[in-house]
Amino acid sequence: MPDASAISKPVAGYMAPPSRTADKAFEWLTLFMALTVVLLIVLVGWQLAAGSSGAIRKFGFGFLFSTQWDPVNEEYGALPFIYGTLVSSFLGLLIAVPLSIATAIYLTELAPRWLRQPIISLVEMLAAIPSVILGLWGIFVMVPWLQKYPFAWLKNPHHLGWLPLFRGPTYGVSLLAGGTIVAVMILPIITSLSREILVSVPNLQREAAYALGATRWEVTRIAVLSYAQRGLFGAIILGLGRALGETMAVTMVIGNRPVISASLLKPGYTLASVIANEFAEATTDTYLQALFEIGLVLFALTIVVNLIAQLLLMRFSGESLGRSVQ
């Protein structure tokens, strides 16, 4: 999770330091709550590590680099799942980010007032659709459509078929289908957050730009987007966090094949999916431990991806996070 400062705008000025007992008590209470969250994360990590300790001892670091997943011979490796998770999440972001931010810009800067609320409600309704329903829609509607039109277009050697990314026989279910369903699932969160952030850009910014004779596009680009870029980046990171852990819907359309292939039209597999698929029927100890370790890898991957994002955010805005909070 990125810290809250990434989303909220900087608060101007200090509050007087708390002095009364009620304030102190409140401070302690909130500190306690904040620590609970930290404790929860630590406990989850510890539980996953404890559950997978046997597999960690048995496979060592090789687990992260092995491409074998063979429950019969008890050989387990996480690489194809890590690859599938990263690729499907990245594809999801690639599709969802431009759509979400464009929607947010339209809603805050351009849309007539009567149209705003209906669109906002619709986007939020999208977030309320259960994952498994989206997955079924994915199998029966989205995948056949993707297979028939976009995939056929991409595969055509006159278009993009010459790229290794779009080669090979296609069955519809694929990494790209997984990425597309991820995009549908993270669209609402990125759109809502981005809209909140754009709404919170002070009107003074816009007025100043208009006063300088900027066009609407220039106002949006210079006054609004550059002002809000940190917040928007934070919204994208939150979306990425969700994308990494999306399970049911992705499982239903990604093809569930633990292989690494260059083509995005080939099936893949994700960390979350293999846990959901195999946990209930795993009977041997090593098998269960390996699935626990997959959970641990997903947990670590989420943390690492978020850390990288935080670092990028710091570089990107040219100042430390600590200062922006003040």
Binding site: P71, V72, I139, P169, G172, A276, F279, A280, T283, T284
Partner: protein
Amino acid sequence: MIKTNLLRLSTLCLLGFASAAFGQLSITGAGASFPYPIYSKWFNEYAKVDPSVQFNYQSIGSGGGQKQILAETVDFGASDGPMSDENLAKAPGKLLHIPTVAGAVVVTYNLPDSPALKLDGDTVAGIFLGKITNWNDPAIAKLNPGVKLADADIAVVHRSDGSGTSYIFTDYLSKVSPEWAKEVGKNTAVKWPAGLGAKGNEGVAGQVKQTPGAIGYVELIYAMQNKLSFADLKNADGSFVKASPEGVTAALSAAQIPDDFRFSVVNAPGKDAYPISGATWLLVYEKQKDAAKGKKLVEFLKWAMGDGEKMAPNLDYAPLPDALKDRVMKRISEIQY
């Protein structure tokens, strides 16, 4: 998954308390999902036979069922595959396998005009190994004289989730194909040499329906209820058999069943035996710790072997053959409480 399991456990506990408050004995079980429809039917019907006891069954999967009965957090477990020696050794007491009903797995396909196909073990194994890749392969043509087979790629679809269905299917392939046994083996989930994974019977059926030239396997019950076309299979006696509950019962009658009831009936002998058949089991300790619960559990099991079995065909499950039922009944009466 852990979270949902915990959630289910806590629901179990709540249910337990609730029924205790009404002076009703509550017996809980967990495990296999394949027999869930018939088990819930049984528990509903049995509530009319003996209102003083309430059964709660959670279909959390065979792996979960085995784990929970080993940890003694439930009164009985349920599994679609027999327990391994390794897991049985972990049990704090002698754990009995009580077979209840049986089912079959069928090979379903999507070909233009849905011709009726005949397949044998070698061919099915070849297809799922990725060795036979086109429908006009001579191996398929030889088994289906007179059927016009399209020149189309075969798209293999298998279950992505661990399941008893996959166990029975891979058990069958391991028995009919030495190459499969060596390279892949049998389990609730395996390293599939070819094809794509789809979640659940509905996922496999959906994927097969949408992909021309696809082949997959689903439970017979699912195929019958959804009117899928499936292949006749050549059994150990060399005759082609259409999957049906009767074919499964025939396989059970012909198979050699060991005394601990940990059996596999795939590729069973007998003219009418359907080759990809398998049973499902309840897991019960021989020495029951709680006398009151033990007594009720034994009464229920006896009822299930009698009146319960009669309900099986209506739900498309295969009942156990009479000879086996008698043996199981004898074992049930040996449970101590």
